[in-house]
Symmetry: C2
Subunit: 415 residues, 2 copies
């Protein structure tokens, strides 16, 4: 395969994670080592930065600050949620993209994100091929939701799982200090796939986790939940429940939407303690059981807690970015970099390439057999799967008792 000389563009897309910047560091540092890559550009806010021709010149950044990206959470270049129409429907964006690529002789395009982002990456790749513009396009997986098809797991998941399991263990200790018992309801992210909520089972595995775990993979039955929680409450005095934000009833209605009904209802809750799912379930459980109930929403913290990132995750995220560049330089294109777990007792992942077409918009959920019969907990197979992903502690360098995160200059390339 002949050498392809030109500039590269890297973009971050979708919701940020604790390690998406580690993939950025992998791409940028590897691209700078490649003689055939003439310029290394970062797109401001992903595909939008490409269409607006807003590129940061990475060669203008302090190498130390680029290195700090490995331990800096969120999306340093800015992210975006922008769905490209299909070219058949509207070719405008694509024409503009080729115009920009030609102007800057962009021959390498690396896009880091989840399902929708891989869809974008796939459309760009296919259009460039059809248009006969030579450009190597590589997707790099990223999502705390861990729901990308075709890869053993996604960079970002291990760190979120480590944060969730650790925080659940700490709440477990806090929630049982009084002699009067309490029901604690933890709301964890995950709209359609329960991987994040399932990671709370790692805390149970360590002896300090939830008694009940409810995932969007299983229809949620409010009465069954109340029975299961009350019976544990009567038996142990304390109950910890982990729920996915995305749990729905058998009619497909989000349980979180029960909240607004309650808000309007006049039945005596005292204060209508509504809000997210946790607050809603807490209100209901309080009324039905009479127990002290507390709802806790982990919220954004679970996707940006770089201070507690998994070293395995950080290293794999960096590696994925680095390998995307190496494969592209070798001539590969139209693929997403993915992880394949090696056989054997020791955890080891190899990198494989999967077609962008196959991964775009597909969604991976938790296999039913990894969820217990009752549908309120995880099996040992899940623990075996998830435990290796949270190993090792990534430590951001500290300055004055607080993490020192990367500070980029973000020097724009002339238009």
């Amino acid at each position: 395969m002949s050498e392809l000389k030109g500039a590269c563009v890297f973009g971050q897309s979708g919701g940020p994670t604790a390690v998406i910047n580690a993939s950025a560091a992998g791409v940028i540092q590897e691209a700078m080592n490649q003689s055939c890559i003439t310029n290394v550009y970062g797109a401001a806010h992903g595909i939008k930065g490409v269409l607006d021709e807003n590129f940061y010149d990475m060669s203008k950044e302090d190498p130390h600050e680029l290195n700090l990206l490995k331990t800096t959470p969120s999306s340093a270049l800015g992210s975006v949620r922008y769905k490209l129409k299909s070219p058949e429907e509207d070719e405008t964006d694509y024409k503009r993209l080729i115009e920009v690529f030609k102007k800057h002789n962009i021959r390498y395009f690396f896009y880091n994100g989840g399902n929708d982002s891989m869809d974008t990456c796939n459309k760009v790749s296919k259009y460039l091929q059809k248009a006969g513009y030579e450009c190597r396009v590589m997707g790099i997986p990223k999502t705390i939701d861990n729901d990308l098809w075709g890869t053993d797991h996604c960079p970002g998941y291990g760190s979120a799982a480590k944060y969730i399991a650790t925080s659940v263990m700490e709440v477990y200790h806090d929630a049982r200090v009084y002699d009067k018992g309490m029901i604690t309801i933890l709301e964890i992210m995950g709209r359609n796939a329960g991987w994040l909520t399932a990671s709370s089972a790692l805390a149970s595995h360590a002896g300090a986790g939830p008694d009940l775990i409810y995932l969007p993979e299983i229809d949620f039955d409010l009465d069954r939940f109340l029975d299961e929680a009350s019976s544990i409450y009567r038996k142990n005095g304390n109950v910890i429940v982990a729920v996915s934000e995305g749990i729905k009833d058998k009619n497909g209605k989000y349980i979180s939407e029960y909240g607004s009904d309650l808000a309007q209802s006049k039945d005596a809750f005292g204060h209508a303690q509504l809000g997210g799912l946790a607050a809603t379930l807490a209100s209901i459980a309080k009324q039905k059981t009479g127990a002290k109930v507390r709802g806790i929403e982990f919220s954004l913290l679970q996707r940006c807690a770089a201070h507690l990132a998994s070293l395995t995750d950080v290293n794999e995220a960096y590696w994925a970015g680095q390998m995307a560049v190496k494969y592209a330089v070798e001539g590969k294109t139209d693929y997403m970099v993915a992880f394949e777990r090696a056989e054997g007792p020791e955890y080891k992942c190899n990198i494989k390439l999967i077609n962008l077409t196959d991964v775009a918009n597909a969604e991976k959920k938790i296999p039913r057999e990894w969820i217990n019969k009752e549908g309120n907990g995880l099996t040992g197979d899940f623990i075996k799967y998830a435990l290796p992903l949270i190993q090792g502690e990534s430590k951001p360098p500290m300055e004055n008792g607080l993490p020192r995160f990367s500070r980029l200059k973000k020097v724009l390339v002339d238009q």
Copy 2:
């Protein structure tokens, strides 16, 4: 002062912290070294355990597990919120207490807690004196709220402050990744004193913190808040606001109570996104500014995050427990151990003793001159005060990628 031979009882009281168990380790390990202390007992659920004669025999614990208490969050012996009546009002509890103390020849009583707990400790101390029962009574300060009178700061605060400042920095990075701006409202603990919410200013000091900070020390004006937030939003696109759960309007009404009014109101919020203060302010700000608004409640996590504790805090908490025992053995009684900051450029604290009478029920708030003129931020004096308290990282030993917390046997003493 003649040597006093007998058993000691240690109790934990009030809300748990990341380091109250470090004080426990200090008391227990030091007491075990003292020949005049015949038995080291832990009271189950503080004063309640004393009255119920529920004592754990600490000599039955594995020394390694006792050592792990230094890095284990929450109250390992169990906590309690029980207010002793004054003896004049009702002597029952006191008579029972003396009965139990005599039965087990308890001559040392160490009580670890906040304002109310020091009130309990003070009442016990005074009653035993009046009854002529010789017993050395020492209070050990503890509260994330940092509102105890007479001490430079309270064990528990530094770790909570470190967690809050770090988490705010991470949310700061997460909250500005999209090109469309957002108003983020962070609800932080602190009913009457703003010390915890103020610690978010340490993140601003590090360049990634709130634009606006509202404390319970200052009357909260909803319209002014909306003006201040909107003008920053229009200017920067992104706004981060930190609010104490305890902010009140000039009529003394908690802003969090505005929520239930809104819940009942029929005006079109779409979903009534209510709940805690953060959700309430988010709903209002969303409606008034039209901006994207997110409310985040740090909740319990801020008081039990041992994985991110301040090493300074952990060491001081241990030291406070240890010194309480040493002073008691030397003959001191009826005091609380307190910190006094030494003069000079280097941070250094000495231990002093203050009368339980003086500290009981007194409350320390943030001095007005440490809050900016506008009442929406902190001054450099606060930073100078708080920064030394979050220095150093306390690391719980890890096992399988998760913290290994102490597991006590809790062997009960025969009644």
